[in-house]
């Protein structure tokens, strides 16, 4: 049985070693730790417990990377074989399902654990800088290790259950939301139900739910980390969270093994679906005749779902916003129309940002994935014209969200315009806008280079970039290198730099698409 596992393990390590991007990623990680160390060293002059500060930085950095790995790296262990249609071949070669699961998940888990363990000596420096004990370091790595094992196996289950990497990543993301936000939401609901006298405070259901929520809290990696990082932590490194996360990992692996034959062996169609787009002409959900802006028509209907999806979004957003406003109105004493407008505006702004982020990760990637870039590139248009037409078509899919955004904006216009002048004069506002634009461009560019995970990678890069920028700025200010004026000037320069990068990314995307079309 282990022969197949070792063969897959060996192959995965060889592939991992040959890829430049894995080495680049590790190098980036090392640079970030060094950066954290520099910050801790600088801040040790002005604050106490610099070691704890350094340690916290490194730990939360690790936590973010583990989360991203869970969504992308671990969630694709089996789906990538499904998409390549190689599972059958592996089974034919005598690799049984358990070996296959181990062989696909273990190398990824080992790579991540190695990345964690090699930092261990560096984090011991935090003890020297002060504020951290060896027990805290050990407990933190045990906590992260157990969470990593749990998450990697959660990714494995999702990878077995889903037919595509994208769906598996989404399922992991939803599971993580439930893990982190489920207990507080459940607690909130149960408190609401008790306060409205729908259930008795001492009833079995309330008691049971509260005990369950408490257990969830105790098994939460975030709660355990914050507990460890408080001064004076002296509990055992192998706490409740460690064992529950480890157990969850084992259970997830067993679940993946049990579900393997049922889900992983089904034939996966590589053909893209039509979704709600009707095949029959003259129907409301039919794409009808191609517009003269043919690429926009194609992207609106066949990448973003067309009118049918727009209508569904319109109804869903409407219902969700109505429910939200009704709930707030019901629970608060006064809720004016303006406040309602602001609720709608800010909610839909988040939706618009998410929708455009998703579009930017798909807009060019689908052409590469479907191998259609060659025929599209042969049209008598420049690659830039093709790309902009695609952007136009995709942006039509955001109209429902924009509709509610504008409605919200109009309802809350008085409130919003009051501080508008002040907000527009803030360099930070423009930096945020440009950063969001840059994030979309970066996602689109990355999606032309990597098979999956462009969106989380862009997110991590933006997060790291921002962290480096703002910490550097804080250091400059703390070190007496300048006041708020310097900060403002650097913010403006950074905004200009990002704007130039956006323009540059247009050329890079153009070059990359031209290159891909010629392959």
């Amino acid at each position: 049985m282990l022969q197949g596992t070792f063969a897959l393990f060996h192959r995965a390590l060889c592939v991992d070693f040959r890829l430049t991007r894995t080495h680049l990623f590790r190098f980036l990680f090392a640079v970030l730790i060094l950066f954290c160390l520099m910050i801790a060293h600088s801040s040790s002059r002005v604050m106490g417990a610099a070691g704890l500060y350094l340690f916290s930085q490194i730990i939360y950095l690790n936590f973010m990377f583990i989360l991203m790995a869970g969504i992308s790296f671990f969630a694709t262990a089996i789906t990538e074989e499904k998409e390549e249609q190689t599972i059958g071949l592996l089974l034919m070669a005598g690799v049984n399902p358990i070996s296959l699961l181990l062989g696909k998940s273990l190398p990824r888990l080992v790579s991540a654990l190695i990345l964690l363990s090699i930092q261990f000596p560096f984090t011991l420096l935090a003890i020297t800088l002060g504020g951290v004990t060896f027990t805290q370091v050990l407990a933190t790595y045990a906590t992260l290790g157990a969470f990593l094992i749990g998450l990697s196996n959660l990714g494995l289950v999702c990878s077995v259950l889903c037919s595509r990497s994208r769906t598996a990543s989404t399922l992991v993301l939803i599971s993580l939301f439930m893990y982190f936000l489920g207990p507080p939401l459940l607690g909130w609901c149960i408190d609401g139900a008790v306060s409205e006298n729908w259930v008795g405070a001492n009833s079995l259901i309330v008691g049971g739910t509260k005990s369950f929520i408490e257990l969830c809290y105790e098994s939460s990696v975030l709660r355990q980390l914050s507990l460890i990082l408080t001064s004076g932590f002296s509990e055992s490194p192998w706490g409740f969270q460690f064992w529950t996360n480890l157990m969850a990992g084992v259970l997830f692996f067993l679940l993946a093994s049990l579900c393997f034959n049922r889900f992983a062996l089904t034939e996966v169609s590589t053909d893209p679906g039509r979704g709600l787009v009707s095949k029959k002409r003259n129907r409301i959900f039919s794409p009808g005749r191609a517009w003269m802006q043919a690429l926009a028509w194609k992207d609106f209907y066949f990448v973003n779902g067309g009118l049918g999806m727009a209508l569904i979004k319109h109804i869903c957003y409407g219902v969700a916003l109505f429910s939200l406003c009704a709930y707030i109105s019901y629970t608060s004493r006064s809720y004016s129309l303006q406040e309602m407008g602001l609720t709608v505006f800010w909610t839909m702004l988040i939706v618009v940002l998410i929708e455009i982020s998703l579009i930017s990760s798909r807009i060019f990637h689908v052409e590469v994935q479907w191998k259609t870039l060659v025929s599209t590139a042969m049209l008598p248009q420049s690659m830039a014209q093709i790309a902009y037409a695609k952007v136009f078509g995709s942006m039509l899919a955001v109209i429902p969200a924009f509709f509610y955004l504008i409605i919200g904006g109009l309802l809350g216009i008085e409130e919003m315009t009051q501080d508008l002048g002040m907000v527009l004069a803030e360099p930070g506002f423009w930096l945020t806008c440009i950063e969001i634009l840059f994030f979309w461009h970066l996602t689109a560019l990355l999606s032309t280079f990597i098979k999956w995970g462009a969106l989380p990678l862009a997110f991590v890069l933006m997060w790291v970039g921002n962290m480096v920028f703002f910490f550097s700025m804080s250091m400059v200010i703390m070190g007496g290198g300048g006041g708020p004026d310097v900060f403002e000037a650097v913010t403006i320069l950074f905004t200009l730099f990002l704007s130039a990068s956006i323009v540059g990314s247009h050329f890079m995307i153009n070059e990359r698409l031209t290159y891909l079309a010629s392959q």
Binding site: D271, A290, K298, K371, M378, Q381, S518
Partner: protein
């Protein structure tokens, strides 16, 4: 829309070279394709066929040499060239979630055709490719041969003067291959210039007027199909299948002036005949067989010879 024909070659490739990551895919190739001809581009796997095709269709910029299509340089007149050509890659590059009609309608609109014009063009290309009954079918639900026809129909939507087809018959069953070749012959009759790549010379032997053979980035032969045979061997070889054995036929044929070699093949009642084209021709040869009381069942150029010519021109080994 057929443009006036002149003596200018449709494709003119002069000393073109191209490399990928240190590998020299093309090493200074030169050849021409004449208007309204069906030109075969043959070479083993990895010979540089697809690279050449992508340079001709403006997807790839040549690193050295000059490529002109309809007299336009591929590096400077991309849009003009793209309007007049249709390129079918070696893989299905179709939006498989669309129906056949939607797919063709999309490309028609992308080429700037109005609705009425598109209706006409789509009907024409569907008739030509014998896909009339499948226009509302999803592309993903079609067989490989049908999908290849859809790709061909797409290439024809803008009524191109030059068709560039990269291994269009690969992966098709024999019937689909024959039907595809019939469509290509019909397109040739319509005045299109067709440049077709393949790694099987015999597949193109009866279809093409001219052929270019490429191997490891070098042109080994470029010219007429007949020229290929005389290029490799001085005298053509034909195979004759007789209804029944005729005693003394081999001796009587060998006595004829110009007939150099007559030998039985591995099949019963079949003869392989080599003759000197300067002294005799196929008409004389057939007359002599009939005069000798032979009843001919079939008469064809020796395809094995074409394959041999190809093997002789190209080097051994998998690329």
């Amino acid at each position: 829309m057929n443009h006036p024909i002149n003596n200018q070659p449709v494709i003119d490739i002069q000393n073109v070279s191209h490399s990928f990551k240190g590998h020299r895919a093309l090493q200074g190739i030169s050849f021409q394709v004449q208007p309204q001809s069906l030109h075969g581009f043959v070479g083993p796997n990895g010979a540089g066929k697809t690279t050449t095709l992508k340079i001709i269709c403006t997807l790839l910029r040549p690193q050295g040499g000059k490529v002109e299509v309809f007299g336009h340089n591929v590096q400077s007149a991309v849009k003009e060239i793209r309007k007049r050509i249709g390129f079918m890659p070696d893989h299905f590059s179709t939006y498989r979630q669309m129906t056949v009609f939607e797919y063709l309608d999309f490309f028609g609109a992308a080429y700037g055709l109005g609705v009425d014009q598109r209706n006409q063009v789509i009907n024409d290309v569907l008739t030509l490719t014998d896909m009339d009954g499948r226009k509302d079918s999803l592309i993903s639900g079609l067989s490989r041969g049908m999908q290849q026809r859809v790709s061909l129909a797409r290439v024809l939507v803008n009524d191109p003067d030059l068709l560039l087809l990269d291994e269009p018959a690969s992966g098709l069953d024999p019937r689909a291959r024959i039907e595809l070749m019939e469509i290509l012959q019909e397109l040739k009759r319509m005045g299109k210039t067709i440049f077709i790549s393949s790694h099987i010379l015999s597949e193109l032997a009866e279809l093409c007027d001219s052929v270019t053979i490429i191997d490891r980035g070098l042109v080994k032969y470029s010219g007429s199909m007949d020229g290929l045979l005389t290029h490799e061997q001085e005298h053509p070889v034909y195979k004759v299948m007789l209804e029944a054995e005729v005693e003394g036929l081999i001796d009587s044929l060998l006595r004829e002036p110009g007939i150099l070699k007559v030998e039985p093949t591995e099949k019963p009642r079949e003869l392989r005949i080599m003759f000197d084209v300067t002294l005799t021709n196929t008409g004389n040869l057939l007359s002599k067989i009939i005069e000798s009381n032979g009843t001919i069942e079939s008469f064809q150029r020796d395809k094995k010879h074409l394959n041999q010519a190809f093997l002789d021109l190209t080097e051994q080994g998998v690329r």
